[in-house]
Symmetry: D2
Subunit: 311 residues, 4 copies
């Protein structure tokens, strides 16, 4: 249960079997920082090339292929006042005929991020939106473990190992589970967003550097196929693929697998999901899209599948 | 502002230019009923063949092609105690390898619907779910207007004219807008669900007959491309297409069109959606899938695009 | 085996249960004409609104739901000298980023069609292509039978009933098979192309009016799910759907069904297709795309599945 | 113009910046071998784990990011007598309802490959196909260069760098062009097929080890976005993506780029493709699918875009 304070000096724009920056044990907690999508740190200085540079990888001592890594986000909070965002909805998210004739000019937007007021306020460009102010919803856009088969996968995309999922539900308080493909798991994280619309449809959230505190735990001998997570209200599975419907297939199949592991017979699981399943949409901008399939913990408690006190 | 009480005797399983069952005026309110997806009425008697049979069509007097029809659901409530549902997640929603080897047995489920307690309780089959009880969320699965080009489109699917969208947000209190393609608009409705999970992934909600009260209004000279809606909290646009991502494209483009009509310059609209858009998933079972793109009215009020008192 | 000469006076832009223009018997041959996609006839006079207007429907006397209709194209030949084409590749066929920035101007092209020389020569606009001359390959773009469930389906799209498939293989000499959904089958045809690239990626071929001779035959009690065809070299199945991969699924599954009907055990059929299947791409412009799955007759003869003399 | 004889001892199942096995110059020719998809060599001995193990990478001396690598397949020929294939059409290629109920048993097939007779003959299992004999069409299934951004990409899939495209047109005599992302290009190749149906729909061709002779050439300062190729009759571009339609978009856009480089104005290029484009389908089994967009060289010669003697 050690606590580590780690200040990164190297970053990676592909998630793979890079040299670990720190060896930690299952149960340990790490305090660290992430730079923004363009490589700018808490002082708004570019310290590494852009492209969702990742802090890490962290080597977790007992982690072996076939185990599962649990990562709990104890605290994720912006550590500077300026956030930046793209401003044009991506062409792949719009009707081709709109794209052919109606796209506005590009350029960047700046937002003032105030962690006291817990708000982000549009600073520029000047538009009818004026000083539009939105509540903060800090989330980690891109994080995951080294993929299988000796691969190193760009932080522009996502797969079974996690990656650039840009799901608004990956907030403080969530526990995320990853399949482990290599010894040590090799956990990476980066790409913090102060705020983000569903789908990250302009290709960015309000991009900003973060202070992060996370705690890891290795679940020995427990094997999963896709990233999963739980928060106080839901258990959920994330599918990452193109087309979008395939992400639905992966997420739904993985949630069925989870219900099976919890001891629910298959026929009951199908009936349950039919009337009680919920879906959230992650990224629809990247090479692989993300869909989340989830179910309320309270329902699983009602049928005795989860202990009530876990709620 | 007349009030009509209409008891249907014929039903249609394609939405098209059928003989109107009633002529009404813009502003009128209709009290009527719908049978369930299999053609069973409030007495649980089959009165017409199955396949989402529709009540209607209703001819609205001043409606002309190029106008918009607003339909407000004043009241939609189950009018019998038994609801039925399919029990197996559809193969197109699951990983092909799961489908090849792990599908459970089919069969139907019965649910007891109690509008006093506002609950649906699983009656059969007997499974680990026991007497699982879910809160009612009555919604209309399939409704719309006659499509363009002399078409009659199966109530198994959806398109610009509406149809089988199976979106949980089409509840009591919502106002839905349809493009009008033929004189009189020819509004149809049916396929009520007492409860439904996102995506209607088993191919049904808890299917049941409804008492319905709705009020129509023709917006002359106002032209839209896809179904839209608003409730107390959101304005939203629905895209209906395969693949799922194309539904995202239609819905997002239509919401941009709406913001443009409200007077928001394009560049501002893109910036706004980037950080504040939300998506819901309708049907992923039917030939055309449904995605909903929405934004909070409170944000549009903050930037002066909607009057505050409309909230 | 009667021969009919039929000159159309009405046309339809949806395929459905319209009033038959002629009643014929199984085995009969019809000589008729089709107008071009814009409703222009052999004299280049517009006689009906555009949108792939169809000649027909022809009512075939013994045809009943569950039977199959065979249509043999005895002769399909342009009957005027001018053909017209669109000139810009459709936005849905190009990368979104290309569409956002690089689309050329639109406008129409005219081609001189010479059935003596069997060529089409570009007349306008003037470009680096000069008087580009291509060999004729006359084909019928849109044809089919009335769909199920009382539907009328736009001639802009396609489904199990056929429709706007725009497949280059639907040429003179081919026999096409359709599932029959309504009494009389109600066969429609139109949308002739003098030449067309794969995919109809500009949204048109070289559009022109046709003289057509076709012969029908009803296969009683034989039920198919998707359009099929055969020519001297191949048997083939067409799948019509979005996304494109779903069209592959339908076509492949239907060819497996055909091989099963020919008496090939399933395991052998899968092995055979694995190493000998071929695919062609039909339309990728319309709401539903078309893919064709085919296999050489000579291989089926080698394994005794087809008689050798049929080759 | 040196000639190298290289016998591999290490293989890779991801394409990336691995240690080069040989440094060669632009213009050089290499004689080498590839093992089959399962790592079996010319003696049918497993020398490396399976998964499309690649021979290489070959470092080409002058190759720099932004250049193009041309690889000409001088000779690709099976070097043993036994080939193996999977036997069941992949679930993602079939209708979900077929997959749920009609899939045959799996298992492997063996084929006798005779390079004298230039045939492959089915040896086992015993089915109605008997000793089905198909003509050889040797092709390289998986080959390419190190991808950008420090990635290593599994040989199960494909992208801009090439990879597992399984396109029947990648035969002896073709010249394939790749974008270069890293110094030396780092060319890999493997996964030879004696025969393969379109789409590799059972997940394999007739898998076999190869003797390969290839010649490389670096095109300095010439930048392409996707793999291209030419043979005696066609120029072509390959798009690798899911969904299948996105592969069409990439391939079509890349062919337009090529026509632009050849000096054809955009408007002319669109008109030309509209009536003369052709498409072939590569892999529809892997995580990324492949579509090929091509045009006849003879047409480009007719309009003066290619020299006639190049035909």
């Amino acid at each position: 249960m050690a606590i580590h304070h780690f200040q990164p000096t190297v970053y990676h724009t592909a998630i793979g079997a890079h040299e670990p920056v720190l060896h930690i044990d299952s149960g340990d907690t790490v305090f660290t920082t992430t730079v923004d999508n363009a490589g700018y740190d808490a002082t708004d200085t570019q310290v590494t090339p852009g492209g969702n540079p990742q802090t890490g990888p962290f080597y977790i001592e007992s982690a072996e292929p076939g185990d599962t890594l649990a990562v709990h986000f104890d605290r994720i909070v912006p550590n500077r006042k300026i956030g930046r965002a793209a401003t044009v909805v991506a062409p792949n998210v719009l009707d081709p005929h709109y794209v052919a004739s109606e796209m506005p000019q590009g350029g960047g937007a700046e937002w003032h991020v105030d962690v006291e007021a817990w708000t982000a306020t549009l600073v520029s460009p000047e538009t009818q939106l004026g000083k539009l102010t939105l509540p903060l919803e800090p989330m980690v856009g891109c994080f995951g473990v080294a993929p299988p088969r000796g691969q190193a996968i760009s932080t522009a995309t996502s797969a079974t190992h996690g990656g650039n999922m840009d799901y608004r539900g990956f907030q403080e308080g969530v526990t995320v589970y990853f399949p482990i493909f290599v010894p040590g798991a090799l956990f990476h994280l980066g790409d913090g967003h102060a705020v983000q619309g569903d789908g990250e449809i302009v290709g960015t959230g309000i991009e900003i550097s973060f202070d992060v505190q996370f705690t890891v735990e290795v679940r020995k001998g427990k094997s999963i196929n896709w990233p999963r997570a739980e928060n106080s209200d839901y258990i959920l599975a994330a599918g990452n693929a193109r087309p979008l419907h395939q992400a639905v297939q992966h997420a739904t199949t993985e949630l069925l697998k989870w219900l099976d592991e919890l001891g629910l017979e298959k026929r009951a699981a199908h009936i349950l999901l039919g009337q009680a399943v919920e879906y959230d949409m992650g990224n629809v901008f990247d090479p692989a899209y993300t869909m989340v399939c989830k179910i309320k913990k309270s329902i699983l408690q009602d049928i005795g599948l989860l202990p009530t006190d876990e709620h």
